[in-house]
Symmetry: C2
Subunit: 380 residues, 2 copies
Amino acid sequence: MNDVVSQNIRSHYDKFSSKYQSFLLLDLSLDMTRGKPSPTQLNLSDDLLSLPGTNYQTPQGTDTRNYGILDGLPGIKSLFAELLGVQANQVIVGGNSSLTMMYDTLQRACQFGVPGGDSPWNSEPNRKFLCPTPGYDRHFLITQHLGFELINIDITDTGPDMDQVEWLVKNDPTIKGIWCIPKYSNPTGCCYSPETVKRLAAMPTAATDFRIMWDNAYAEHHFNDNHPELDNIANHSQQTGNENRAIQFASTSKMTLPGAGVAAMAASEENIADAKKHLNVQGIGPDKVNQLRHLQFFGDIAGLRRHMKEHAKQVKPKFDLVDRILHEELSQWNIASWTKPEGGYFISLDVTPGLARKVIELSQKAGVKLTGAGAPFPYV
Amino acid sequence: MNDVVSQNIRSHYDKFSSKYQSFLLLDLSLDMTRGKPSPTQLNLSDDLLSLPGTNYQTPQGTDTRNYGILDGLPGIKSLFAELLGVQANQVIVGGNSSLTMMYDTLQRACQFGVPGGDSPWNSEPNRKFLCPTPGYDRHFLITQHLGFELINIDITDTGPDMDQVEWLVKNDPTIKGIWCIPKYSNPTGCCYSPETVKRLAAMPTAATDFRIMWDNAYAEHHFNDNHPELDNIANHSQQTGNENRAIQFASTSKMTLPGAGVAAMAASEENIADAKKHLNVQGIGPDKVNQLRHLQFFGDIAGLRRHMKEHAKQVKPKFDLVDRILHEELSQWNIASWTKPEGGYFISLDVTPGLARKVIELSQKAGVKLTGAGAPFPYV
């Protein structure tokens, strides 16, 4: 290395080091490991915290304070039905966590089996699950914990690489399903194209009880009015005779209060009847007061969408800022690429191989926690 | 039959028929199939329905609206710890249903096994569970659904017949546990004696991973100040080297709002660590806002006990009335016996063999739904 280059590098190093030192002095404490709304976003839902007050009956006259109603209040079932593009009788509204509903759904499949299958999934020791990567570590963890071998599928700008998916599921009956975050996917932010949705719904599968875990967590989490439309997986599955294939999930965790929201699942009537048969043993029913609270807070789907625009007003400028700074600071060096999503909660930053751990380590020392380097990849 | 006897019977029959006809005219609609609090009892907790308002932080400064805290708020853990006679680090506070926590606990044992065992319970095809009867049908249903053979144990005034229990568990390693409602047992209302609690904690079991499902649902549901004291199963289990044996459950379902309350489990630190390992996969955490709501509403264990006295004021006169009417109407005929509990939610009425179904049918026609005749007995 000649002296000029060496001096040039040293000069940059000194500049960046000094900048990093100035970050350290800021004494930051930011946790960006998860899609965690900011307190000012939570403030948007503060009215929820004193509901329902004395107004604890549904419009139909049900006293939500007492026992009963296994699958959720009719009003909140209708709201999620509109959100997910199904009929209200295809919906179960549960407790505070869609992740828990996903875990339960797969645990039930392992213990008891599902419609279309001839035995519990536990009886297949080599059961496998497809994991579009980079993806959501908590999804992967559920299937790993329940004894599935995880198979990586490349994710593209239009969703999982469908050639890979179709070839695998056509030939291997031990592949029981696939994880999907079809809109503003965690973490790349991609939206599944209509073509991808159709192919997922229509593809032949060797497993007769194949399931798509359709985690539509960010269905209404757009930054702009002009946002991508997700095709309706339920309709396509029905049209292709695979109506039991897709199980949709959603929650208000990133609409109202994370952890104190309402979660739902939607599927074919046969899937819903099967789930309810087990839910009737698993408990008495969900927290209907919290469901009513949410129903009163949103009013209807239009109210929910108005509320989400308030979130967008807060979130979009932050995403724009991150994108601008990444551009200003990194684009000239050709060492990083990142996504620019139109909604959701994540920006995925790829850096030169081997560098991610160092970036995360330096951020952490400066008080900014980032998601672990290998988290979006199974077994990493 | 001579004419006098025949005439006497006809006279009684006419009297009772006419009385029954008068009941029909009342046009009643009462559901007594479950321990369901009355609306006036629910009114005792109406303040809960507008909490926490703007006061959404814990005294320690945790914003309960956001993600985090897998095992419940420290304050509510301490409250349940006092209720169940354990340390706060032996408690997990979950969602709205203790029944769901019980199901989850057993489903996890089936899928993954528990401390002390060498394999998942699913790997024992002949797994069995002891069911003191008459007992709670929802308990029995959980273990039946999860593939256990249910073994009836007679219940006495002091709890399950311990001679039966000890003999069975000593000899059969496929017996994995026993259901217990140790205080104001559903449905007989009995309280386990100190002797029973000690024997359950100390008895040798062939299964190294035997579990007592200790559903202390009515721990504070006394009718009188002078009420039976339940011995501490956790202490006895620890003293006899069986600290992993008992798993306690409780909830506020019959303290505040059924379905919108808070549930908890308590066990050895090893059991709790094992449960948390799985809960970390099952979801993000419980509804902390509802936990805070309850904490603010009760204040502390003394506040909870004051609240329960208000329930007793409403419930005790109803139990007294039922007992008085049963005495007045039935004691002379020698065809029925019934329990007179000191707390809880149930009176168990035994009638001449074969008559129960007829009683329930006639009640139903008069608009009073009673629990099905065989419900407290497995396989009936």
